[in-house]
Amino acid sequence: MEAIAVRAWSSTRAALQVMLDPGGVLRDMLDNVPSVFSLCIPGLAFTLLFLQAGLDLYRAGAKSSEGVFGLTLLGALYGVAGIALVAAAAWSFARAMGGVRSFDWTLRAFGISYTPSLIYAVCGLFFNAAFGWNTSAAFGVTGLLWSIAPLTSTGREMLGERLGLSIALATVCGGLLLFGWALIVA
């Protein structure tokens, strides 16, 4: 029991640390995180966000249960493939600007950057399922916005602490995924 409590506290502390000090977490943890695991984070986050959007539409009578299932699967694909594509584009940009980080590192960093979105997606799904609230816009947009800070920290690591360029990179990458999600679920 005590071991479970210690693990739970450790996980909670890690999640809070990602939200408060994403750069520190990236530096400390990234080497121990496999690429596949880090891609599971945005995959799961977008799966849950698309599921919430599907549930909202289902309650409004605009989607059938099969439609909700299809939208959820699309979310999983969007989370994994979308992040991989955006990470590839960011890596190419960083290399052109003199960055030295590998593609594997970039992929893992981008995946981990979506931890705040996953936290929001889990909270949103709870309120959606338990209280019947329409949570996709409120929790979805907020969760995706919270990933801007870790993306900026990732950009600073990739671009040698150049704040302006890393903000531009985070804006474009975060914006692509946010507006892509919004256009698909609209």
Binding site: L20, D21, A137, L145, I148, T152, I167, L183
Partner: protein, 168 residues
């Protein structure tokens, strides 16, 4: 004897740019928030001006609060250096402003409040971490700046609610 830092060591260009970006971001965010409450031009102008004043006051207040409550920071920096640190940290509001503006123009969103609150908390946290770095990495010094940013975020929400009440 330790010397007191009077600026963050930025070049003159950056020191000028950060407050401009801060004012520009809050100007655009206030304009978008004002439009969502009441699209009348007069209301939007007044709302934007009051919003800018509120944002400026909060920035000075947050810097003052961090300076007053952090003994280690006071040993190495003066108030102006902390204020510059905050202006630099709030550059992170720019992505939120661009995304809010893009959403408003292309997707007809009217949720500037969501963007500005996330932006304030993100920028406040970013600055808090910079303050901790300047305070010999003592982690407890993160609490006051984060609570300050949270208060700023809540105050902005109350300001919008009050404006909504006035408009209706």
């Amino acid at each position: 004897m330790e010397s007191t830092v009077t600026t963050t060591g930025e070049t003159g260009y950056a020191r000028f740019l950060y407050p401009v970006i801060f004012l520009l971001s809050f100007g655009v965010m206030s304009l978008l928030s004002g439009r969502a409450i009441d699209p009348g031009a007069g209301f939007v102008v007044v709302f934007t001006l009051v919003g800018l004043m509120l944002a400026g006051l909060f920035l000075c207040g947050l810097a003052g609060l961090a300076y007053a409550t952090n003994l280690r920071l006071r040993r190495t920096c003066d108030y102006r250096a902390v204020l510059e640190l905050y202006a630099r940290g709030f550059v992170l509001l720019l992505p939120f402003t661009i995304l809010a503006l893009t959403g408003e123009i292309f997707l007809d969103w009217s949720i500037a409040l969501v963007f500005i609150q996330a932006g304030i908390m993100t920028s406040g946290t970013f600055t808090a971490l910079e303050i901790v770095k300047l305070s010999d990495s003592k982690a407890s010094y993160i609490i006051v700046p984060i609570l300050g940013a949270f208060s700023f975020s809540i105050a902005w929400m109350l300001f919008c609610a009050a404006a909504q009440a006035v408009a209706t």
